[in-house]
């Protein structure tokens, strides 16, 4: 470590304990996040490149990865749109039982995901309440990727709503009025003034919902039907490999998932940082 780098970090500050705080942060992050992940990567590294690529390149693995990330991206996108709408309604309008509706948003957080999965499956199964009507339309939801998207949308909903809500509540109403006095229609005000201001919050919610969806297991396995190549998600495939005592295979798939997730979250973070800078939150 060069001396200048140390000097740069140790600027005089009124907040005491920089050293101890940073030390604790690093130890904590290592213990909770870094060491388990490193162990996983180490385990998969024991496979050797050829074996690693064989497992990862397996069509069943590829199908599962494609499904996991595809369904998660779609579900997070759906949540980004409707989560903003929900947040809008909760912040901007007052209606009877609004507090109740507000509390309901958090239910997907609190509910054991398996319960959610079973409930959704019961509803959307071909003989279920909603499923029977969809069946007459020739639409099959349960035991297909559509079912997976619905389950992931369910569990990801609170993330977007809860990140957008406070920002929308703080939004300067005068900026809207200013837009109106300048001749902007309501539509132009929403799309050119309000939504761009919410963008960083929407992205945060989107990233959280996406991360949650990629790792989701409990709710999906009930509604997915888990047909290999069709509706088998990656986390399930990892569990299957574990049950076969194929630990190396499981960690190989996990390592790939980790790599993709990490790069996606990194990209979203970069977009956020860029929009924050434009926004001027950081001056």
């Amino acid at each position: 470590m060069s001396g200048t780098a140390v000097m740069r970090f140790r600027q005089p500050s009124v907040l005491p304990g920089f050293g101890i705080a940073l030390g604790f942060t690093l130890v904590y992050l290592s213990g909770i996040v870094l060491i388990p992940l490193a162990a996983m990567i180490l385990k998969s590294a024991g496979l050797g490149w050829a074996e690693f690529w064989r497992i990862v390149g397996d069509p069943r693995t590829l199908a599962a990865i494609r499904l996991s990330f595809g369904a998660s991206l779609l579900a997070a996108s759906i949540n980004a749109v409707f989560g903003v709408l929900l947040a809008w309604v909760l912040v901007r309008y007052s209606f009877p039982r609004r507090r109740l509706a507000d509390a309901m948003i958090d239910l997907p957080f609190a509910l054991p995901t398996a319960v959610a999965g079973i409930a959704l499956t019961t509803l959307y199964a071909p003989n279920g309440w909603i499923g029977q009507f969809l069946a007459t339309l020739g639409l099959k939801v349960a035991y297909t990727p559509i079912g997976i998207v619905i389950a992931l949308t369910f569990i990801g909903l609170p993330f977007v709503v809860r990140t957008v809500e406070p920002v929308l509540r703080e939004f300067d109403r005068e900026a809207e009025e200013a837009a109106a006095t300048l001749g902007a229609t309501r539509r132009q005000t929403v799309f050119r003034v309000i939504l761009p201001s919410l963008l960083p919050a929407i992205l945060t919610g989107y990233a959280l919902a996406l991360a949650r969806s990629i790792g989701e297991y409990g709710s999906v396995i009930f509604i997915a039907g888990n047909i290999p190549y069709v509706s088998e998600i990656t986390p399930l495939l990892i569990v299957i490999r574990l049950e076969e005592f194929n630990y190396a295979g499981a960690t190989a798939i996990a390592a790939v998932m980790l790599a993709i997730s990490f790069s996606m979250l990194l990209i979203i973070n970069l977009i956020q940082a860029w929009s924050r800078r434009r926004f001027g939150h950081d001056g």
Binding site: A175, G183, A184, R192, R278, G280, H281
Partner: protein, 358 residues
């Protein structure tokens, strides 16, 4: 653009914020709406802009009834106290916003909008600031950008809601003078809201004094200051002291003592005078006398607080800095310019003025 306001009212729930106000504003005038908080001045401004819908009454822009028109159609430039700039847009984009949202047929080209933004940045003395974001500007600069944005749409009237309220004293003074120059240069009909009487008097062609949703007085700064139409205006504009007096036999009496002031009329009244409009008198046959209870230095004079008579009414007068009167000493004076308002009438009703001695 002439603006005519006819019996405009606005009620929020049970509370009348603006109560049947009528006002005429001539084209090119710089008008101040002045009043304490809750006087309805901002509501009146927002009614003119169309940001509030009147409960009753009408507003004319020229000969055209604007009261049924939407905000968008009124074509007003509105400047908010807290700037209300679009934070995610550059300064140039903020200024061009009003032009960019026009329907395609009336929308200038991208290059024209750009040029107009540059032109306005020059006008508000921020050349070269187009690429910055609002967060990178100081409060005074932001407010000038907000003004440029409002001017970009070539508004028929410019409305400013406490435009300098969020700025510190020095910047406020500079911007005040600058706004006056800008107004003289561009000639927009301008209405601004303020609670600062000094700002209103220094800046405006005419001042509208509002209190509790009604107009107390409309006049030039001189008229408002020298001939206030009501006790409220007398107290709100500048410094003023008041004393309850009795009128009889053509004289003004304070309790049972003659004040030396002469006036027609009979009955209870309230005497108003300003601290600097007095003369100190020696011996007291016809004067107001009391005991000094406190004093403080105000600019070039000493402002002395005096407690008068059994009623223990306190008034303030200005004395020369070197005047020997100390705390507890007795002093006698007589107002040189003063006004009387018949009391008994409730504060809301316009008190009848019975005598003016200016």
């Amino acid at each position: 653009m002439d603006i005519r306001i006819e019996n405009i009212s606005k009620t929020f729930g049970q509370h009348p914020a603006v109560n049947s106000v009528s006002l005429e504003i001539r084209s090119g005038e710089l008008i101040a709406l002045l009043g304490p908080s809750g006087s309805g001045k901002t509501t009146l401004l927002r009614l003119i802009a169309g940001l509030e819908h009147p409960t009753g009454g009408r507003i004319f822009f020229g000969d055209e009834d604007a009261s049924r028109k939407s905000v968008q159609a009124r074509n007003v430039g509105f400047v908010f106290q807290h700037y209300a700039l679009f934070k995610h847009m550059s300064v140039a984009d903020n200024i061009g916003f009003g032009l960019r949202v026009r329907p395609r047929a009336q929308r200038p080209s991208r290059r024209e909008i750009r040029a107009r933004a540059e032109e306005l940045l020059d006008l508000v003395q921020l050349p070269g600031y187009g690429e910055r974001f609002p967060a990178q500007l100081s409060g005074g600069q932001r407010q000038r950008v907000a003004l440029a944005r409002a001017l970009a749409i070539e508004p028929r009237v410019l409305l400013l809601d406490e435009p300098f309220g969020a700025l510190d004293a020095k910047v406020r003074k500079d911007l005040r003078r600058w706004l006056r120059e800008l107004h003289d240069k561009t000639g927009h009909t301008t209405i601004f809201v303020t609670h600062d009487q000094e700002e209103a008097i220094e800046l405006a062609d005419r001042v509208v004094v509002l209190n509790k949703g009604v107009i107390e007085q409309v006049g030039t700064p001189d008229e408002i200051y020298d001939t206030p139409a009501s006790p409220f205006v007398h107290q709100f504009i500048g410094e003023a002291s008041s004393l309850p007096v009795t009128l009889s036999n053509g004289e003004v009496w304070l309790a049972d003592r003659a004040t030396g002031l002469r006036s027609e009329g009979n009955g209870e009244a309230i005497l108003y005078f300003r601290p600097n409009h007095i003369e100190v008198v020696e011996g007291c046959s016809g004067c107001i006398a009391g005991v000094v209870v406190g004093s403080r230095r105000v600019a070039d004079t000493r402002r002395v607080e005096i407690e008068i008579g059994a009623g223990r009414h306190r008034v303030e007068i200005d004395l020369p800095v070197g005047h020997p009167a100390g705390e507890g000493s007795r002093i006698a004076f007589r107002p040189t310019r003063w006004r009387l308002y018949l009391s008994g009438a409730s504060e809301n009703a316009a008190p009848r003025k019975v005598a003016v001695h200016a």
